[in-house]
Every structure is written in structure tokens, then in C-alpha cells.
Amino acid sequence: MAVCVQVDDFDLSAEMALMTAGRADIGALVSFTGLVREINGGGGMELEHYPGMTEKALQKIEAEARSRWDLQDCRIIHRYGPLEAGAQIVLVLTASKHRQMAFEAAEFIMDFLKSRAPFWKKESGRGWVDARESDEAALARWKAGITKT
């Protein structure tokens, strides 16, 4: 399934139903959903992205995950535009025969999305969100083609 960069919200159960329809070879589904956290009473953010490059970056991340793990399927949805506190930002959904592959692939995709996909968050009343050093560090564990464990 393709990656998707969109303003609209998404529904995890619907995505999962699409992924599993007509097949029974999937044993494990792992999802990650990122939400807008309310910080010190501040609400919402604006998510800017780089149209064109974003889609390419997500496709590259997905292809890399599929080359590293034996995935039955994989889905990435990332929203942009104005997002209220509590809103869904991102969905990563991975399907595999056994749980470890689905978990690792979802973590891998999230680690790359965090600091290698061209998105920028601006929190209402607080300005641009700084990149976290821990996100850059998280990438290091996937280096050299080895899996985490």
C-alpha cells in the first residue's frame, strides 16, 4: 500500500481492515499512532512539509523497511496543516507473520520519520519545535543494516 501525506484524519481500524481483507497469512499487526500533546495548556500546532520531497522520503523509508524485514504489508499516513491538541498526526501500520518483524519495522519507520522526513512542527504560542537529540540518536541503532536485537 502506498504512503499518504494528507490534511484529513485517518481511521486505524479502517486501515487495518483494508490491509487484512481477503487474506489470512498475517499473524501480527503493529500500529503506531502519534498524537498532538497539549503542553502547559497550549493547544495545537501547525505542521509544515515539503510537498514532493515528503512523499519521496516516506516511500524511501517504506522501501527500506520492506527490504530489511519480511513484511506482508506496510502503511504510512502523515498529516500536515493545522492540528488541534489530541489530534492524530501520524500512523504507521506494519503486518508480518510473527510479532518481532512487525514491531521492529514500525520502530524503524518511526525513527526515520522523526528526523529524515521533511516535516516541521510549529506549536501555537510557542514557535518551532526543536529537533530532539534523542531522535537523532535513535537512528544510530539501525546503522550498518543490522536489526536492533
Partner: protein, 81 residues
Amino acid sequence: MNVLYFAWLRERIGLPKEELETKASTVADLVEELRGRAPRYQAAFADMSAVRVAVDQELVELDAPLAGASEVAFFPPMTGG
């Protein structure tokens, strides 16, 4: 060549995109050239350790060549996910 700016680089420079004629051979050369144009570019490019670059939508380093490039983008470290 199209030059794009995102997030606070876009805000400091005051526009999201411009078309330039340049003879700069690397990204670093282009940054030097832009700095010479106006103080707002100097402000945007004051600390290059906080700036990321993509040439034709691929992340590159500052010393990347521009030969044949049609789109260069400057932006802060990414904060997706």
C-alpha cells in the same frame, strides 16, 4: 534554479520560494551568494549547523555540487512523526 525555504528559514527570509540565476558550484557557494543579498539571508544562514539542505529533493551535505540541479531547499532539522 528554484530555491525553497521552510519553517523558520522561510519566515526569516520572508518568502517560501524564489527563482535564481546562479553560477554557484556547490550549496555552500550558493549560501555565500545569498548572504550577500540582504541581512535577512544573513540572519537565516547565521548558524549553518541548524540548517539542512536538499538538492532535487534529496538530503545532501553543504559541499554538495549544484551542477544540473533544478531545485534547492533550505530548512531546519526535521521534526516529523
